[in-house]
């Protein structure tokens, strides 16, 4: 008797590869898609987001731009208004300062100001996050900054499967989508590797819907909400907590805006305890918004006051002893979770 066929092997990708694969598949399917940014052609993007695309699609559709963010993002808005689907890379989210008008006043308001006549099907992909010594102008997250402003969607995957699905969804979305990718999760090697971010990603076409958070670990004692890198801190912490008999549910936001309050509230309604962890600045941030969204729901009873962990309201410091002191990590999540369990109301 012959042995049965081994099960179909899963196909693993890094987030960087998932992003470039998604863009390549969509460019092959839809001739109106093009991609531009700094060093995205021959170099394939400093963070590997456009690897291989120049060879496949040529320089008319894969365009290196000068260091002129206002101009090329503005041009992307114009391309989108004309019915094309541009993908633009802002190399570091920290650089938004030189081009924010084109993003929040122009791209994000095109549909509204035109009463729906003119849309802006543009993807702005950008790297976020620190933890590797790149200091205050190259390490920021700014989830709350972008999430706060109306007219644009903001997504951030924590793994390759979601990265590909979210990018495909983003390109097809008729609205401007800010696609953030965390540098620590790209799988670039020179930024370290978070093994859990390297996941199966089907070769074919699929979507991860924008606006839907995912429960990535079920639990009963508390809800830990994270996004991007902090999902991995939460999962690492949940594993430690399980060894102590504490069952933590982990929610991966996946989308910052529009925020999936339904999923978050349902989870906290079940567990009664809420801990939010993200690496953006604390005040007026992700944690604040999620805690407020939960507290204003009259059907939720909290067993303990909620806790938020974030980067403090200071510029990201360069020297590692300071940077790692202020950045969230799994240990800080475990410590906060312990406090949550102690303060039963």
């Amino acid at each position: 008797m012959s042995s049965p066929e081994p099960p179909a092997a899963a196909r693993r990708l890094t987030i960087a590869r998932a992003i470039s694969e998604a863009i390549g598949q969509e460019m092959a399917r839809d001739p109106s898609v093009l991609v531009m940014g700094e060093d995205i052609a021959k170099l394939g993007g400093v963070f590997g987001t456009t690897t291989g695309l120049l060879d496949r699609f040529g320089p008319e559709r894969v365009r290196d731009a000068p260091i002129s963010e206002t101009a090329f993002i503005g041009a992307a808005v114009g391309l989108a208004a004309a019915g094309m689907r541009p993908i633009v890379e802002l190399m570091f989210v920290d650089f938004f300062g030189v081009c924010m008008d084109a993003i929040y006043n122009l791209a994000a308001k095109q549909c509204y100001f035109s009463g729906g006549q003119v849309t802006c099907p543009m993807v702005l992909m950008t790297s976020v996050g620190g933890g590797y010594g790149d200091a205050g102008q190259h390490s920021q997250c700014l989830y709350a900054t972008f999430g706060h402003l109306p007219g644009m969607k903001v997504v951030i995957p924590s793994n390759a499967h979601d990265a590909k699905g979210l990018m495909l969804a983003a390109i097809r979305d008729p609205n401007p989508v800010i696609f953030m990718y965390h540098k620590a999760l790209q799988g670039m090697g020179w930024l370290g590797t978070v093994q859990r971010s390297i996941t199966d990603a089907p070769e074919g076409d699929y979507i991860v819907p924008i606006g839907e958070a995912a429960c990535v670990r079920e639990g009963d004692d508390m809800t830990i909400v994270g996004l991007g890198l902090s999902v991995h801190h939460a999962l690492d912490a949940a594993k430690s907590l399980a060894a102590q008999g504490i069952s933590a549910e982990v929610i991966d936001l996946r989308t910052v805006a529009p925020l999936d309050r339904v999923t978050i509230r349902a989870s906290v309604r079940k567990t009664g305890r809420l801990l939010v962890v993200d690496d953006d600045y604390l005040s007026y941030g992700i944690g604040a918004e999620i805690i407020a969204s939960v507290c204003e729901d009259p059907t939720i009873t909290l067993r303990a006051r909620p806790i938020r962990i974030a980067h403090p309201d200071i510029p990201v410091p360069f020297t590692p002893v300071m940077e790692h002191f202020v950045l969230p990590d799994a240990a800080k999540v475990v410590a906060a979770a312990t406090i949550l369990m102690e303060t039963d109301r």
Binding site: I67, S68, W190, P317
Partner: protein
């Protein structure tokens, strides 16, 4: 090509280029410490990015030879040669790059954010960000009736950034004593100047802003010295701003670890053959400088750098809670 610079200045320029190159030569192996075998940018005593200035030293010394401590300089993410030429405290600079408590900012800023208020030097990691502040510093000098000038260094890629347009226009409209110095090393990260700049010479853009533009070829310290001297003197006479475009080159990648696949084969080797420092030494000798004098300044320069690195390595890291100080004054 002029050889008529002040003799002391020429010797200073040579010594400073040597000092600067030796600084980078000690940075490079330190940067790779702890990062092998897999290059992980977060590891080692110098985490993060590192942008070396090897090859661009003439731009720094040719300009800064004409500056005093009271003159302001703003620089870029590739600042070491300019900081050294401006007289930034070498020990504080090395310690800051190593993230130590004795660093210029106690470790808060690192290699791209070096500040030394004693000599009015600052640098930034955002392309073209230093241009506006240089205009402001120049305006302050003018309002106070001081004979000081400001110099903003930028790369040729920054000339395509909106802030360049605004800063040059404003500098002319308000007629402030600022000089904009473009170090044209031919590349942004991987994209050549040719591929992203609409015209061949950024110096020609000066006309659009009502100021003189000068192009200096050949990465030549004496030629840079001559043009910089003229533009800085013009500014000090309250005759307004200027733009200088210097043809230079970087011998290293954009950042350390850059595989430089975008550079044509043989390009870097060709550049190493015209390394400006040995060329300048040969020229000084031909002009009658004593080899013993050149050797002596080299030894002194290397000793100063070595001492700065030793002190930086030995210094303590700051207490982590120090991260919370100096957010506000």
């Amino acid at each position: 090509m002029t050889r008529s610079g002040n003799r002391n200045d020429r010797l200073w320029m040579y010594a400073t280029m040597v000092k600067s190159r030796h600084f980078e030569a000690l940075i490079k192996p330190a940067y790779f410490e702890g990062k092998t075998p897999v290059f992980n940018m977060a590891k080692g005593p110098l985490p993060g990015e590192m942008h070396l200035s090897d090859g661009q030293e003439p731009c720094a010394v040719g300009v800064c030879a004409h500056l005093t401590a009271g003159d302001t300089v703003t620089a870029t993410h590739r600042p070491h040669h300019i900081a050294i030429a401006k007289g930034v405290d070498l020990n504080g600079m090395a310690a800051e790059i190593f993230g130590k408590a004795t660093g210029l900012s106690g470790g808060r800023g690192g290699h791209m954010h070096l500040f030394d208020a004693r000599v009015n030097f600052a640098c930034s990691g955002i392309v073209a960000q230093g241009l506006g502040p240089a205009v402001g510093a120049a305006l302050a000098a003018k309002l106070r009736g001081e004979p000081h000038v400001a110099v903003a260094f930028l790369g040729e890629g920054a000339a395509n950034q909106g802030a360049f347009h605004e800063a040059l226009n404003l500098a002319s409209v308000w007629r402030v004593p600022v000089v904009f110095v473009i170090e044209d090393n031919g590349y942004g990260i991987s994209v050549s100047k040719r591929a992203c700049t609409a015209i061949a010479r950024n110096a020609d853009r000066a006309a659009a802003y009502g100021m003189p533009g000068h192009f200096v070829a050949g990465n030549d310290p004496d030629a840079i010295y001559a043009v910089a001297g003229a533009t800085i003197a013009r500014a000090r006479r309250d005759e307004g701003p200027s733009l200088i475009e210097i043809e230079t080159y970087r011998l290293e990648g954009h950042f350390i670890g850059d595989a430089e696949g975008y550079r044509p084969g043989g390009e870097v080797d060709g550049l190493k053959a015209i390394d400006p420092i040995p060329l300048y030494r040969a020229r000084l000798l031909a002009d009658g400088f004593d080899a013993a004098d050149l050797d002596a300044v080299e030894v002194e320069a290397r000793n100063l750098v070595a001492a700065a690195f030793a002190a930086a390595r030995a210094a303590a890291y700051p207490e982590p809670q120090e991260a919370f100080t100096h957010v506000f004054a």
